[in-house]
Amino acid sequence: MIRLGYTNCAACHVAPQGGGLLNDYGRGIDQAQSLRGGEYEPADDGLFRSISANGRIRQDLRFVMQQQTRWNGQAASTAMRGRVLYRAVAALSSNLRFAGTVTGENESAARPSLSYEPPATPSHVFVNTALLHYRAGNALEIAVGRDQLPAGINIPDLGVFIKSRNRLGYYDAPAQIKAVWAGDRFQVMPFVYGSAGNEIRGERERGAGSLAEFDVLGNHRTVLGATIQHSSAGNGDRRLTGGYARVGFGKWGILAEHDITNRFRGTTSQAFRQDASYAQVFWAARDWLVTSATGERLRVDAPFREHLTAGKVEIATRFTSHATLTLGTRVEHNAATGRIATSLAVQFALKTVD
């Protein structure tokens, strides 16, 4: 949305961190950016009033079907993953609300299983979000509960290195207290957190961090940000320092992030560094048709040495505010083994809009 002059997510999403349910204005933009287009008219019939408790509960049901075929040079594998999400936000008072997201799925999508970073335990039914939000003013909101931690460019693909290698996967929803303080040209998101309860023994982290971003040119199209995070668990610590950028130029834009994670593992008594980079150039050929090209890089020092580079091309077509089809292909090169893995993914997402 940076291409259209939105510096952050608060204009369209109920949660200022972004993701999840849209407010009325966001639904209008969602529909305007679809092939069908037209004006969004909020529902106001008897059925809507009864299931929404006279408008106090905002909710939707989202169904995502993804088929992914992957070749690694020796063998091919295909996965068909179906996921249903129920998302709801209940207004408890004028400045207090509860937000929840529950996911059910047929096949899990855990983070890579690494000896220095085992994934959180997946579950066929998972509570991604359960947050109590308190709006302390126009510029400040505080939330308590469980959710994914705030992240820089905040893209929905949790498989990219900057996410999957920094505990920002599907099943990472730590208990946390976070705040969003936003002004005309800045946004700061400090947070403290503890275990989500689904980590394996020795990996239950606690920590603190913050995002801080600034609209450097004051034109609402050039946002630069920084992330810091300090975490410790029984098996080791990690310190993340990152920088990110969201830049828009009308029809196209750039999203970029680079994170440096300095890790220490007690099992090896050794510190090592992980670098994860992400850069995406996107182009909205039409409001409803967005193509993107992405480059990624991951480098992990010894004793867990890895060097991966990846490229991805994707095209997303939003037919209506209810239905989106995404096609993408990704090529990943492992410099240590020389192997190249290719994948092709088709994703169809449906959601209810009241």
């Binding site: 997510c9 608060a10 204005y25 209008g28 305007a32 287009g37 037209g38 936003a182 002004g183």
Partner: protein, 216 residues
């Protein structure tokens, strides 16, 4: 000095017939006078909303402008300034928003969408610091929905390597034209709209009698 001609190269044209720049007589030994036209200038606008995270930007690259320009040692004198932009060429990046903009801002009661026009009789732009740069305030009339209201624009003119570049900015108040601030699902724009324009004309053939006009 004798007669000087200024010609300017053409990029592509949006209108049938490019604007023509004519050779003109010098009025004084130190001044060059030319009728300069531009047919693909850029105009952009920015308007804040009641949501801090959102400002609406729009742009058109179909700005046409013409003026008689006298350039001398002391600066520039602009006369008979006229500029226009077709409303349909203004885009905000979102088609529905463009529709709303045309409907709520630019459409007359009769359902017509006239071009946005600016005109000014004369402006003197003295050189400021640099020998190639002049800055001034241009007072004229800006017509929206066909209704003219007084408008003041700050203009900076730079002449370098045969190119004359003009950049200007000003603020329009919608209320001056009796236009309500647009509102959509709780998001409302402010009354003040910032305008910015960029024009470039290139002198490519100093001796040519007739040239066409370029804009970047």
């Amino acid at each position: 000095m004798g007669t000087l001609a200024h010609s300017v190269k053409v990029g592509s044209t949006l209108f049938s017939g490019a604007l023509i720049c004519f050779a003109t007589q010098l009025r004084a030994n130190t001044a060059d006078s030319a009728l300069i036209g531009v047919n693909q200038g850029t105009i952009s606008f920015e308007v804040a909303t009641n949501v801090p995270a959102l400002r609406v930007h729009g742009k058109s690259s179909a700005l046409t402008a013409r003026a008689r320009v006298d350039s001398g040692a002391d600066g520039f004198v602009l006369e008979q300034i006229e500029a226009a932009v077709p409303v349909r060429s203004l885009e905000t990046g979102l088609a529905l928003r463009d529709d709303h903009m045309r409907k709520y801002i630019f459409t007359t009661a009769e359902g017509e969408i006239p071009d946005v026009r600016f005109s000014s009789e004369r402006a003197e732009c003295p050189k400021s610091g640099s020998a190639r740069r002049a800055t001034c305030s241009v007072t004229g009339a800006l017509a929206i929905r066909g209704a003219s209201r007084p408008f003041v624009m700050m203009l900076t003119i730079t002449e370098e390597n045969g190119s004359i570049r003009a950049s200007g900015h000003g603020v329009v108040k919608l209320s001056t034209y009796g236009i309500d601030q647009p509102s959509q699902l709780g998001v409302r724009t402010t009354d003040e709209v910032k305008l910015k324009l960029e024009l470039t004309a290139r002198r490519s053939s100093p001796q040519g009698a007739i040239g066409s006009v370029a804009a970047r």
